[in-house]
Symmetry: C2
Subunit: 255 residues, 2 copies
């Protein structure tokens, strides 16, 4: 299934689940949608925190992507959306058409699912893909650089990696700086304020085997987490793990 | 002080200490000297275990380097040598002239000191360099691929790295595959059979601070360790940490 076919299925309501492991080698993106009023300060916020929020595309006065997938409808081509009011998720929907107005600005942000094909091709299997569950994600105590109203803590995704492949996982992902790049933490969750690794804040828990070490990458759910602090009256995001699968190849962003 | 000047000092008996931190940007090498009889099987052994023993130069029927430092005298231009009989260090000397015969073959093997300049330039300081002590080295339970009489366990060097620079240290050192490349272990010494990190098998202990993680790189002391198992009647090696400082630049081996 290529990205266009998957997005068609999604628009038709036939695919409502996490996108990790689908459409091998395609760039996947987080989405963050807010009223114009706060858009320019948010854009600055992503630039000051680009490891957590690498900005790939901004869509204004339209709801169609141009750069990542020309003509893709951002209102119904992601599998699941969070409707967020005053920092709280009030609803999850598969179509945000009824919320659209041209006052909204769409931010598409790099996602670590993009480098997973490279990891797997390097012989580094991924537990959440094998198990067909969502990647586990955690709030941390890593403070973001604040801009205007924007502030908060970084969210990370976690992948258990066989002990002898840890350095390789760092090297492979270093080639994708626009998809979060290298891990922000290797092996010691408590050092970034994660108290219970079996209890992720977003996504699903996965087992860590005895010969594996947990690696943590910055995650594009970070701005959703920031909303808890910022408490905008209204925002829309992708539901964690339910990404925008674009027409770009991972190799387009390989450095 | 450039490499030639340092080697002159060494030959003159004025420098008898570990070479880490000296001659910024120069390739440093381990040395392993054995009778011809076992040289070809040892060469094969290095090739089957090239992460621990990346072979840079072999010198036969001569005691002068050609490739790494043309004309350098391997008998007295390293700061300290181990004389090893039946697997045991029986003496440490600063000149091995009296042991030389043209039956001996000299192996020069890449050393992790070579990538230390790159780490420091990347803002990753090194405790043993700061403290002016020898790098800590440990025997592990990582089995080498055996060849003929040759077998044994890998030796690793350890450097404590600030938690947020761990992935960067992996990436920086990945560019030097001939100097051991990436760490073989990140953060969990017990996973490779190191029971007491405060008690290295070679070199000096260094402190690991609360916000640091120990990283372990394969080490060119590995063949010395193998001698414990192999028990050749006679061999000469550099003393751990007391390396051959060559005329090659680290950039010559940067990939």
């Amino acid at each position: 299934m290529n990205a266009k076919e998957l997005r068609k299925k999604i628009a038709d309501g036939e695919f409502v689940k996490p996108t990790a492991g689908y459409c091998e080698g395609q760039v996947q993106a987080n989405m963050f949608v807010i009223p114009k009023e706060h858009a320019s300060s948010f854009e600055e916020f992503t630039k000051k925190n680009s490891k957590a929020m690498p900005l790939l595309e901004v869509v204004k006065e339209s709801h169609y992507s141009k750069v990542l997938a020309n003509g893709a409808n951002l209102l119904n081509e992601l599998p699941l959306y969070n409707i967020i009011e005053n920092g709280k998720v009030v609803k999850q929907v598969t179509d945000i058409g009824e919320y659209y107005s041209d006052d909204l600005v769409f931010f598409l942000i790099g996602c670590s699912f993009t480098f997973e094909t490279s990891l797997i091709k390097s012989g580094i299997p991924l537990r959440h893909v094998e198990q067909g569950v969502n990647v586990p994600m955690y709030s941390t105590n890593i403070k973001l650089n604040p801009v205007g109203i924007w502030k908060g803590d970084m969210v990370v995704s976690m992948r258990p990696i066989k002990k002898e492949r840890v350095a390789d996982a760092c090297v492979v992902t270093s080639h994708f700086p626009n998809m979060h790049g290298t891990p922000i933490q290797v092996g010691y969750p408590e050092m970034i304020g994660i108290k219970d690794i079996s209890n992720p804040d977003y996504g699903d828990a996965v087992d860590i085997k005895e010969d594996e070490i947990p690696l943590f990458w910055p995650c594009g759910v970070t701005p959703q987490n920031a909303l808890r602090d910022v408490k905008l009256p209204f925002a829309i995001t992708h539901a964690p793990g339910h990404m925008f699968v674009s027409d770009k190849k991972d190799s387009d962003y390989y450095i």
